[in-house]
Structures are given as C-alpha cells and as structure tokens.
C-alpha cells in the first residue's frame, strides 16, 4: 500500500488498517441492528395485516415478501464479493479480503433461502416443488458457486494466500454468471417452450409493493449488519492465528 498523505484520503487509509477498521465501524453495528429490527417488524406487519391477497395467487403472494428480497440478495452479495475481489487484486486493500470471506457464507445462505421459499411458492402455484426453469436453475447453480467458494476458503490454511486465489475464482465466476444465466434460459426454452405462468406480467398494486420494499430493505440492512459483524470476527480470527503461531514458536 503506497502511503498517501493527502488529507482527504485518510479515511481510506484508516479503513485499510484492519484494527482501525474495526474501531471505526464497530459503533455502527448496534444502530444497524436496531434499524433492521424495525424494518422487519414493519415489513411483517404490512405483509400480513395491511396487504390483501393477490387476485391470481391469493395469499401465497405473501411468500413473495421473503422470496424476492432473498433472491435479490443472492445476486447482490455476489456483486459485493466481486467488487471485494477487485479490491484484493487491483488495489490490494486489506479489508477487501476480509469482506470477500465474510460475504460468501451469507450469500450462500440467502441463495438457499431464495430456493427454499421459491420452491414452497412453486408448489401451490405450479404444482411442483422443483422445475428446471431458467431462473430457478441458475439460482441453483449460483448456490453451487457460493458453496464452492466457501469450500475453497476452508481448504486453505493461510488466509492471506487464500484471498488472492479466491479473488481470481470469484472474478472468473462473475464473468461467467451472466453466460450461465443466458445459457440456462436458452436451454430451458430450447427443450421446453415456456409453459409456466409467471407473476411478473401484471403490474403490482401498491399494497403489495409497500411490504415488498420494506422487507427488501430489512433484508438488505440485515446483510449489511451481518457482513460488518462477520468482518470484525474475521479480523480478530486472523489476529488469533498470528498470536497462536507466535505462541507455538515460543515468543511471548
């Protein structure tokens, strides 16, 4: 890291120092957590008490309030990881590694939830838990990529080395995911003309949009909170590794 002395860059320098980063961002966690809690409460209230059943799907539309935010996050988290990967490779930002590592399990979890809620939604609307439909399938592939990244992180002993290698894979994945998405859509229409009914045709009424947006922000803020907390933990974990190695070698 080159030392930049211009005053307006100091926050960047401070953020790139792990200890400083923790000190700077730790006070954010509690407010973020509270905000997330309020948003969830509001979202659930809107979702169950103030929004009517939808005219085609009935009450199952309420699954949307958890399905769409998680599905959206499944992609947003990957974008976060890809940007962090660039941060690792191009700018060599020390916190980028940490962010990349913290995001992977979160992304996997949100993707799994999107799949779960999607298939529970699919049963009453399409009559099946699983269909090899383009969007569902590419989400499944995304889950595999996430899990692969988690496995890759765990396979390395030295997390600093791991970061750069994982960053390469994350970026290769980032280039490839649009191609996968395209190919899967192409594939599903190739073999099976669209026979599935999709809800995204009619524009949604406001009573449905409100809870959707509130839940959407709730999930996003939850991700931000968890991501920050996980980053702090990871910083500490690295410190522990250093201290343990040092202890093993008999230095105080």
């Amino acid at each position: 890291m080159t030392i930049d002395t211009t005053p307006k860059m100091t926050w960047w320098n401070r953020l790139s120092h792990p200890g400083q980063f923790v000190a700077l961002t730790r006070p954010l966690i509690l407010p973020l957590a509270l905000l997330t809690g309020v948003l969830f409460a509001a979202g659930l209230w809107y979702g169950f008490f103030s929004s009517p059943p939808e005219k085609y799907m009935g009450d199952t539309v309420r699954i949307m309030y958890v399905h769409v935010p998680t599905a959206w996050l499944s992609q947003f988290v990957y974008a976060t990881m890809a940007v962090s990967a660039l941060g690792t490779l191009v700018w060599r930002h020390p916190m980028a590694d940490v962010s990349m590592k913290a995001a992977a399990p979160l992304g996997a979890a949100f993707t799994a939830m999107a799949l779960f809620t999607g298939s529970l939604w699919g049963r009453p609307t399409w009559g099946t838990f699983w269909e090899w439909d383009g969007r569902m399938t590419s989400t499944l592939v995304l889950l595999f990529i996430y899990l692969g990244i988690v496995a890759l992180w765990r396979a390395f002993d030295d997390q600093l080395r791991a970061a750069r290698v994982v960053a390469i894979f994350t970026l290769v994945g980032a280039v490839n995911i649009p191609i996968i998405k395209f190919s899967v859509d192409w594939w599903s229409t190739l073999h099976q003309p669209a026979s599935v009914f999709r809800a995204d045709g009619p524009t949604m009424p406001g009573e449905i949009l409100t809870p959707l947006f509130v839940m959407f922000f709730a999930f996003t803020f939850l991700f931000i909170t968890l991501q920050l907390a996980a980053m702090h933990t990871e910083v500490r974990r690295r410190r522990i590794t250093t201290l343990e190695r040092r202890a093993a070698r008999g230095e105080a």
Binding site: I145, L152, R161, F169, I179, S183
Partner: protein, 221 residues
Amino acid sequence: MSGFISVLTREIRLSLRGGGEVLTLVLFFVIVGAIVPFAVGPDKVLLARIAPGIVWIAAFLAMLLGLEKLFGPDRADGTLALYRLADLPLSAVVGAKVIAHWLTSALPLILASPVLALLLAMDGETFWRMVLSLLLGTPALAGFGAIGAAITVATRRGGLLAPILIAPLSVPVLIFGVGAISASGGPDQAQAAALLLAALSLMVVVLSPFAAALAVDWGED
C-alpha cells in the same frame, strides 16, 4: 517458443509413458455410456434422445478425472516453484499444459466416441454433429479445468475441490454442447449452439492460461 514446445513434449511424454492413462479415460468414457442403457432399459428411441447428453456428461466427467495431474505432481516435487523462475512466462507454461491436457484427455475421447454412438444407437448425422460439438466444446472444458486445478493446487488437497469449482462454471458448455448435437430444436438452433460453443471455447482458451497462471503465482509459497 522452444520453451513452449519443451513443456508440451514433456507433458505429452509423461502422460504417454504413464501406462494406460489414456486408456483409462477412454474406458471410463465408454463405461459411463454403457451404464446408462442399464438404467433406462433397452428403449432405443429414448436412448437416442438422451445420447447427446450422455456423451457430454461422460466427456465432462472423464476430463475431470485427469485434472489432479495437471499441477499436483509438479507442486509436490518442487517443479512448480521453478516454473515461476523460468524464462518462459508462467502463462505460457500453463497454456502448453492446457493444450497437452486437451491432446491427452479430450482427443482420445473424441476418437473413442464412435463406440459410444454405437452403444447409444445414434444415427450417422447425429454422430458427426457430436464429433463437431466435442471438438468445439472440449477446449473450454480443458481451460476451465486448468483454472480449477490452478486454484486448488495451493491447497494441497486436490481431489474433488477442482471439479466442484468448475462444474457450475461449465454448465454453458454442456448446454451448448448438447444443443449443438440434438436436432430437437431444428438445424438452426444446433448451428447457433455450435457457434456459441466455439465462441465460449475461444474465450476460455485464450483467458484461462492467464487466470490459471495468476492463481499459481499467488497461491504458491
């Protein structure tokens, strides 16, 4: 250039002297093709319909088998560290390895594919489309394989990690590969798939040596 040839000949030599490595791949390829009829029963129409898919799955899995050897032994005996000090850029070394990998693990499969075509009751025209599709698509698999192998070599465990990393990435190759064989979508679609496959292969083959070289360089210690 002469360095590139050196790596290429070394790799090919090593895999030809290995005694039956190529044979193993071919055997595996054929076994996968032969097992499926047992699973689905002797329905020829059905077999012919899923034949393109089976061929591609068999080829894909067979290429996964050889991945471990791409960088693993070189790492273990210290050769990989010396590659990083070689005059030849690491990406060229990896490029030569990718080519050798394709020559020793994809080409034999393509040569053996008539056997599979026979077992799966493929007709003549489909057979030729299959050969073309394999020719166009396997380079992409080799390239992805190299990336996977390079990324996992520093973890010193190899085995199944590389396959699980690259299998999701290879989905487009499978889809377009099968699309380029099967006639169900009409000849236009088969041709479009073949073109997409070729484009994908080209991109992967050109970029993978650099990505893999970066991974090797940064992962090693």
